[in-house]
């Protein structure tokens, strides 16, 4: 379904009206831009791509309805980068049962996998919060000499996963997790969480936080003048926006993510032309998430092309299983391990004069965690 003579229908659901709506333009624009480019270049084997976007409001029931509509009404051929752990977890099985490929959900992939059951139709590319953070913590223990690690995490699946990763890394080194402190989305103040870290004499604070809370934790650490305490933020906190908004407060903070962040003013080559054409098309400034999702869309388009003119779900699956890809922001060439799981290369970076600069080589999270 979803493939006609003239077009291929793709679907996705994003949080257009819920708590994370803030981030959606970047994602949507990134994907849309790649699709438009493909169409401008004549489509894929003569077929135009059409992307149907639904709102899931970050709420599972609404996501279920959005997916129902995409599957039954729009009869999509594949689900491309749907957003949100809750929504994706609630719908992964539904999509798989309908015989539709899901590519690159922006969600905690371990959970989506668990929810979808064993299906060949799911390809996860990002947000292995647990493994990437774990690799970064191992690096920190070795290179920063951290011995007393604490974690500040957001209540929810994301925080739980990061915590799991941190615990795994520490267990491998026989170190304790000295303190855990959670917060709820919307909390304005994270001073008590930092106080808890201080009370436990943590020397590395891992944060499973988004932009605002990342800044808040870093600022609190600065304010209290905690000497010799490093902050390491997991991927959503390690963003261009965090630095842009946090300014002085986040200076010196560590972070780990799964794609490179290049400031527009430093961009060269293909990346520079991406930035220029994005600005022209949408009249706004892109950020690193836009690049990442442009990349994922590229990967998908690449394999869709490879699957041939007489594309079917089976053919697409085969193509994806054997694919390899390197995008504008990729740390390294990406492939699917076990045919379905895109391991995320990661790298520990630090904010130096307002720029994320590499501190570690590219790490392979799959090595060393077991």
């Amino acid at each position: 379904a979803g493939v006609s003579d003239k077009e291929i229908v793709l679907g996705t659901h994003l949080d257009l009206s819920g708590p994370v709506a803030v981030a959606m333009p970047f994602i949507r624009n990134g994907i849309q831009m790649r699709i438009d480019e493909a169409n401008d270049a004549g489509g894929i084997h003569g077929r135009k791509l059409r992307l149907v976007i639904e709102d899931n409001a970050s709420q599972p029931p609404q996501a279920v309805r959005a997916v129902d509509k995409l599957l039954r009404k729009d009869e999509i051929f594949a689900m491309l980068c749907p957003f949100g752990s809750g929504p994706c977890v609630a719908t992964a099985k539904k999509v798989a049962d309908a015989g539709v490929v899901t590519f690159g959900p922006y969600a905690a992939s371990a959970l989506v996998r668990q929810a979808a059951g064993t299906t060949p139709l799911l390809f996860t590319t990002n947000l292995h919060y647990d493994s990437t953070t774990s690799a970064a913590v191992r690096w920190a223990v070795e290179h920063l000499g951290s011995r007393r690690v604490g974690i500040v995490y957001q209540e929810g699946a994301f925080g739980d996963l990061v915590t799991r990763g941190v615990k795994a890394a520490l267990a491998a080194r026989n170190l304790p997790l000295v303190a855990e402190a959670s917060y709820k989305v919307g909390d304005i103040d994270l001073s008590s969480q930092v106080s808890r870290m201080q009370a436990a004499k943590a020397d590395l604070i891992v944060t499973a936080t988004t932009t605002r809370e990342t800044i808040a934790v870093a600022a609190e650490v600065k304010k209290l003048g905690l000497a010799g305490v490093n902050v390491l933020t997991a991927s959503p906190g390690r963003a261009g926006l965090t630095v842009a908004l946090g300014k002085q407060a986040v200076e010196g903070m560590y972070g780990c993510g799964t794609w490179g962040i290049t400031l527009p003013r430093h961009a060269t080559g293909a990346l520079k032309s991406f930035y220029d054409s994005y600005r022209k098309r949408f009249g706004s400034e892109p950020d690193d998430i836009s690049v990442a999702f442009y990349d994922y869309a590229s990967w998908f388009v690449q394999e869709l092309t490879r699957a041939g003119r007489d594309v079917t779900t089976d053919k697409l699956v085969k193509a994806l299983q054997t694919s390899s890809f390197k995008g504008l922001a990729s740390y390294d060439t990406q492939r699917f391990v076990d045919n379905h799981i895109g391991p995320e290369w990661t790298r520990v970076e630090q904010v130096v004069e307002g720029v994320w600069v590499p501190r570690s080589p590219v790490l392979d999270p799959s090595k060393g965690v077991s």
């Binding site: 709420q59 599972p60 029931p61 129902d68 809750g86 609630a90 668990q114 739980d160």
Partner: protein
């Protein structure tokens, strides 16, 4: 005893042949729909039915006894989780539905006992707090609830038949909705229903007439929670996977909106409100392609329209959809005779609810 049948007739739900005809036709249409509609719409209808059940649950509490609950999602959550856990441990569907209702009812009683000490906005806050705590607890109690990772919901089966398919599930939801509606209709035309309305309007008088105000309030809490628990059980099948955030503040607010926009104090209102609110997001997403692209792709548009529709209904339909329905029916009944009504809008004054 001749008068007995008379007064019994006066209590009938469907009194005139016209009413019986109308509702019979409605039943036929509902039975035929899944066979003519595309699957997507059948799924949407099932969701609407589930929301109707939940909305009826809240209406029992808020519409009839006047107690506002901003935490109804907690009862839906408890129903959903208990149902899923019971199914997973091998209980048959009907028993596990009952189990969900009972568990939610117990939770309702548990919060109802302290909550009846407060009223009005205080009560709204206590229930809100309760639901925040419940959501938090569900996320933390990993061993049982799977925490934020959630739980997969087993497919519903009855006597070996799978009810998970679109059409069977539609009928399951419809059947539950009909049963709940009938039970509530019966209750509302009996002593208990009258007592609910009585304690809403004047506690002093209600007590003087022998209504146990505290007990009736707690009863309303329990009943409302039980119905919402059943709705939760159905909802869990609809989503097939449950996580705590499914049952957050947003759901509670939606339920409150349903009963209010439908029209407080009327079961029909609960249904109309649920239909409107449940279909609103779909409606907006249908509407969007019709807007100019520049506007249609604006973020926040959904929220804006959603808020606008709410505002519109509260402002223009103070009596709720049910009130509009009643006026419409009256108008239709008198149709050829109606002249330009001389009705005149009167000034109204705020009545303090602080000393209720």
């Amino acid at each position: 005893m001749a008068y007995e049948t008379d007064y019994d007739q006066a209590r009938r739900l469907l009194r005139t042949p016209a009413q019986r005809g109308a509702y019979g036709a409605l039943a036929l249409v509902l039975a035929a729909l899944p066979f003519v509609l595309p699957a997507f719409y059948v799924g949407e209808l099932s969701f609407v039915f589930i929301m109707c059940v939940a909305s009826l649950g809240l209406m029992t509490l808020t519409g009839f006894t006047g107690q506002v609950s901003l935490g109804q999602a907690a009862f839906v959550a408890i129903g959903a989780y208990v149902h899923t856990l019971l199914l997973a441990s091998g209980w048959p569907l009907p028993l596990s539905l009952a189990g969900a209702a009972v568990a939610s009812a117990l939770a309702g009683l548990a919060i109802g006992v302290p909550a009846i000490r407060v009223s009005g906005l205080h009560l709204a806050m206590v229930t809100l707090a309760f639901s925040i705590i419940t959501e938090h607890a569900l996320g933390r109690w990993k061993g049982v609830t799977g925490g934020h990772n959630g739980l997969a919901v087993p497919e519903p089966t009855l006597f070996g038949f799978g009810l998970g398919g679109t059409v069977p599930f539609y009928f399951l939801c419809l059947a539950v909705l009909t049963a709940v509606l009938l039970v509530l209709l019966n209750l509302m035309r009996s002593a208990t229903g009258r007592a609910f309305v009585g304690l809403r309007d004047s506690e002093a008088a209600a007590q003087a007439l022998g209504i146990r105000v505290a007990r009736a309030k707690i009863l309303a809490f329990g009943l409302s929670a039980a119905i919402c628990g059943i709705a939760g059980a159905l909802l869990s099948h609809y989503t097939q996977y449950i996580t705590p955030e499914t049952f957050g503040l947003a759901l509670s607010l939606q339920l409150v909106l349903m009963v209010f926009i439908g029209g407080l104090g009327s079961l029909r209102g609960a249904i109309l409100g649920a239909i409107l609110i449940a279909l609103l997001p779909s409606f907006i997403s249908l509407l969007k392609p019709m807007l100019p692209a520049r506007l249609g792709s604006q973020l926040g548009l959904e929220l804006f329209i959603y808020g606008g529709v709410l505002t519109f209904f509260v402002l223009l339909e103070p009596t709720g959809l049910n009130g509009r329905w009643m006026r419409l029916r009256k108008w239709l009944a008198q149709y050829p005779l109606v002249t330009a009504s001389a009705s005149h809008r009167n000034k109204v004054y705020m009545q303090s609810e602080r000393n209720r």
